[in-house]
């Protein structure tokens, strides 16, 4: 631990680690120094001069090296002739800081007056008004009157779309560069910058399309004025009118803590609606950030027009019919649940399946859960603690697209000195920050992982590490491939010395799932089905929070061949359309529950808005169905279900709702009265969550037994080791995940339409395209497994020739890598 330095701020003694800036030391002592450009998550730049304070240092006698003493025995202090910026001055022993003397206050006041000379009178119409650092600091520290004339104000562009998600008001910008620094230092996407000088300095975007970053929304949180605002909340409400409700983002396995802001609205018939999603601080998960997918698609789907609902007599009837069908079928029933369900839903479903004798599967093409549950992260883990001497391996995952906050956290870990190894068949955004980048051919994933320890430097990094965290994804892989890959990663753990493999914090295997709660399902023993289409034939199928029919026409066919289909979802999907019985579920924003993140952290979400009439929480619907089949299950409240989970699922032992809601003091302190310090992100008052304990008795032998559960298909066996080498005129098509997919929970986000469209097509190397006579944007035929689809061609230089990347959920179903034929579709032919 760093040496402690003692100093006095406004007469209050403070001890802080060496290297702390005065402003942070003051914050720790509960003294607020006004700041604009300083942000506790970024390096100080001292650009705005708002944080001026008086600083005195003890006078040291050069001869003796001892402090010179005054007559009264106190050390003699030397105050600087000028005020100093507390954000860029590190503390030193014996320092005396005065933040509220007349001199310091005058300095702070005058800087504010200067800033206000160019500031428009926009507070009444400004989206920041009410939570604006400039407004608050002016009230607290500013001049009471301006000595400048309105006519002399600087006028600039007021409504400039930096991108289609963020608006810039150039008049309001105070040139603090927080947004610029966030983009370059934290997000690693330097798409913003300053142009011009002096009073004409303005923020510009360098990217095309503008402000091309998936973290852009965060700049609106830390912009200390209303210069950057989101398109989604534009004039949505005044901040003081909003109620806030704690929740968890449901878009990816990171499980960012968020706050939904809610208000009543005439447009919604007087009902409550969610107006915006804001990050909620959890330094162990998302710090104070969230990605644009979470912000602009996170809750929007729960308010889509296609929400399912039934009148209560109808619902009653539907439940009875469904119950009759399920009871009849009993062991001939198949349950299929998507990873959007909460832990409580999965548990209730599992109980129902067991007691009915039905089979229950997790609907996913991402296998390997049997390894992540046993080699996952142990309690006490925090990616934010990874640094020098630690190694992180990311294999077959494009984290930037699949779990943006993990990308952000690993980028930061690499900056702190952790060894970051990125292995993928194509270039990904994380490569830039990696210590080692490993390229392999699609199909060689398992071999690559196996050969890692024999590689010289990489092998060293893995063997000599304090902590090893492995992220594995499904980039170019299907169910068999991911399962094999997970096994290889687990083997890597077991091959290491015991000191490294014994369950300990910050060590373990993480699956980069595509849903928020796949890990929770896995922890309760759910597993995917290897051959779903065959499994569904002639069965009574109960599908929850999944759209197999929309994902894959062969599954739609299979469902048509089922005896009966009962679909339970919040939105209308292909599956609900072809189902015999539809049960409308309440969205997760309308009920209580918990998700288990990929890091095995169980986190609570709370109801933000009332449940829509004619819907019920998933676990309640399941329990209701069970009751009508003569099975008594807990369906009264999520809390009561959690109590049962804790009693019956070893991994969840010790967890209670109260424990999940516990918080401890976090640094930096944000979201209190001092929005100017950390931004408008919310303080966490509703719980940091608890990491599941690892099931005891993990042994390599046990693992092998489990691994045979899924017998790999011949194709997968062939894949292992040899790689997939396409023949002469064939291309290898592999499934990949893009951030903005076209799935049930993203497509309803209207604001993102243009972003989603950017991934609607198939990605090929320009050389490949040329070979087949294709250009960027031109239409092509993709012949796959005997079916031909048409898709637009998108060029990407980072992928190897001979490969076609097919983003999931855009209409070309590709469960496993396959060989395809690509032919140009002449525009003439199209007509």
């Amino acid at each position: 631990m760093a040496k402690l330095i003692n100093l006095k701020i406004n007469g209050k003694p403070v001890s802080v680690p060496e290297g702390t800036m005065v402003v942070d030391a003051a914050k720790k002592a509960g003294i607020d120094i006004p700041v604009f450009c300083y942000h506790p998550k970024m390096e100080p730049v001292a650009m705005c001069r708002q944080c001026l304070v008086e600083i005195g240092r003890p006078v040291i006698d050069r001869a003796t090296g001892q402090p010179v003493l005054e007559e009264n025995g106190q050390p003699k202090l030397q105050f600087g002739p000028k005020l100093e910026t507390s954000c860029s001055t590190p503390v030193s022993e014996g320092m005396v800081v005065i933040t509220d003397s007349e001199k310091a206050r005058a300095g702070q006041r005058e800087i504010l007056e200067l800033l206000l000379t160019s500031h428009p009178l926009d507070c009444p119409v400004c989206d920041k008004g009410g939570e604006c650092p400039l407004q608050n600091l002016t009230m607290k520290f500013g001049p009471k009157e301006s000595r400048f004339l309105y006519d002399e104000k600087h006028h600039a562009e007021k409504h400039f779309p930096l991108g289609d998600l963020i608006f810039l008001d150039r008049e309001r910008c105070i040139q603090c560069a927080r947004c610029v620094r966030f983009q370059s230092d934290i997000a690693g996407e330097p798409v913003l910058g300053f142009s011009q000088r002096g009073r004409h300095t303005e923020i510009v975007t360098y990217s095309d399309p503008g402000f091309d970053s998936v973290f852009s929304g965060n700049t609106t949180d830390i912009c200390p004025v209303g210069a950057l605002t989101t398109a989604d909340f534009r004039f949505g409400a005044r901040p003081w009118e909003l109620k806030s409700s704690a929740s968890i983002c449901s878009q990816c396995p990171v499980g960012c803590n968020v706050t939904f802001n809610v208000r009543r609205e005439v447009k919604a018939g007087g009902g409550y609606v969610i107006k915006r999603a804001m990050p909620r601080q959890n330094e162990q998960v998302n710090e104070i950030w969230m990605c644009d997918k979470g912000r602009f698609a996170g809750y929007q789907y729960t308010e889509a027009d296609s929400r399912l609902k039934l009148d209560s007599p109808e619902l009653d009837q539907a439940l009875s019919q469904a119950a009759v069908k399920l009871a009849e079928s009993a062991s001939q029933a198949v349950f299929l649940a998507g990873g959007r369900l909460s832990n409580e839903d999965f548990y209730t479903l599992k109980q129902f399946a067991t007691r009915l004798g039905a089979k229950a599967y997790l609907y996913t093409r991402h296998g390997g859960g049997e390894y992540t549950t046993r080699y996952g992260l142990a309690p006490g883990s925090n990616l934010g603690n990874l640094g020098k001497g630690d190694t992180v391996l990311v294999v077959a995952s494009d984290l930037y697209h699949e779990a943006p906050l993990w990308y952000l956290r690993l980028k930061a870990a690499a900056k702190r000195g952790a060894t970051l190894i990125v292995a993928n068949a194509r270039a990904t955004k994380l490569d830039e920050f990696a210590t080692f980048v490993i390229r392999y051919s699609y199909g060689d994933e398992v071999e690559t992982v196996k050969s890692l320890s024999s590689k010289e430097k990489v092998g060293e990094a893995i063997k000599n590490t304090h902590h090893l965290v492995i992220f594995y994804g499904a980039d170019g892989l299907g169910l068999t491939g991911t399962t094999a890959l997970a096994q290889a990663c687990a083997d890597l753990f077991t091959s290491l010395p015991v000191s490294q493999t014994a369950p300990k914090a910050n060590n373990g295997l993480i699956g980069v799932w595509s849903t928020p709660n796949q890990q929770g399902a896995l922890e309760m023993g759910f597993a995917p089905c290897a051959d779903l289409a065959a499994e569904l034939k002639d069965k009574t199928v109960y599908i929850l929070a999944a759209d197999p029919a929309g994902d894959d026409p062969t599954l739609a066919e299979a469902l048509k061949g089922a005896k009966a289909v009962i679909a339970q979802d919040i939105l209308e999907t292909e599956t609900t359309r072809l189902a015999n019985i539809v049960l409308p579920a309440a969205a997760y924003t309308e009920r209580e529950g918990t998700f288990t993140s990929g890091e095995r952290r169980v986190q609570r979400f709370y109801p933000a808005v009332p449940a829509r009439p004619g819907t019920k929480a998933d676990f309640a619907l399941i329990a209701e169905l069970a009751k009508r089949c003569g099975i008594d299950l807990e369906g009264r409240s999520a809390l009561l279900v959690m109590n049962q989970i804790v009693a019956n699922e070893p991994a969840f032992s010790g967890i209670t709702y109260a424990k999940l809601a516990e918080v401890t003091e976090q640094w930096p302190i944000i979201g209190r009265s001092d929005l100017f310090y950390g931004g408008t992100g919310y303080e966490n008052k509703q719980g940091l969550g608890v990491t599941l304990s690892l099931t005891p008795g993990v042994s390599p032998q046990g693992r092998d037994k489990q691994a045979t559960l899924l017998s790999p298909s011949p194709a997968a066996k062939e894949m292992r080791g040899e790689g997939l080498r396409p023949k002469e005129d064939e291309l290898l098509a592999v499934p990949i995940t893009k951030l903005y997919d076209n799935g049930t929970t993203v497509a309803p986000a209207k604001l993102l339409a243009a972003h989603i469209a950017r991934f609607d097509g198939v990605f090929v190397n320009p050389a490949t395209a040329k070979k087949y006579g294709l250009e960027n944007g031109s239409q092509a035929r993709v012949s796959l497994n005997g079916v031909t689809y048409s898709a637009s061609v998108l060029l990407d230089e980072s992928i190897s020739t001979g490969v076609v990347l097919i983003p999931r959920s855009f209409g070309i179903p590709l469960a496993e890598p396959a060989f395809v034929l690509l032919t140009a579709l002449e525009p003439a032919q199209e007509a």
């Binding site: 009444p124 003081w240 009118e241 005439v266």
Partner: protein
């Protein structure tokens, strides 16, 4: 006793004969209200017909009885309701909740909401007490155009006009 009775009757008689009558034959006859009287609100317009209200919700924030509800939306030059970027797409006052304190009037940065002279509010249903924007807005002044208007670009960029100190 007689004396007391007579004295009392004299007082009544005196008032009847010699003092000025104060009774007003309401509703046939109405007394003019004072200049600062706070009656039913109205939403003002500029001379050109644009609405003064910019949908800032400050009146709603100032209101001690939570009687005002505002929702705002964005102006464009093709469909402009008020100067600047923002206008009130919904504006409602619940006259049963209102205590006629005038705080809303004070809070308004554009002098859009004003308390008028009308005190004759009566309802047969609670819902009638909710005055919508249409009911509150004054008619378009002569020479002005109704909203939304099509306006030339770059003219109405400021939401808050320059204002003098109030005089009365």
């Amino acid at each position: 006793m007689i004396v007391e009775l007579a004295r009392g009757l004299w007082t009544t008689l005196r008032a009847l004969i010699f003092e000025k009558k104060v009774t007003v034959q309401y509703p046939e006859e109405k007394k003019p209200v004072k200049q600062r009287f706070r009656g039913r609100h109205y939403l003002d317009r500029y001379e050109n017909g644009l609405e003064k209200c910019i949908g800032c919700s400050l009146c709603a924030a100032a209101c001690p009885s939570d009687a005002i509800f505002v929702e705002s939306a964005e102006n464009t030059d093709e469909a402009r309701y008020s100067p600047g970027e923002r206008y009130a797409s919904t504006y409602e006052i619940n006259m049963l909740r209102c205590i006629y304190c005038g705080f809303c009037e004070d809070a308004c940065p554009t002098e859009a909401i004003k308390m008028g002279d009308n005190y004759e509010l009566s309802f047969t249903d609670r819902r009638q007490a909710i005055y919508t924007k249409e009911m509150l807005l004054v008619p378009v002044p002569p020479g002005g155009k109704p909203t939304p208007q099509v306006t030339p670009p770059g003219v109405y960029t400021r939401s808050v006009p320059e204002m003098k100190d109030p005089v009365d």
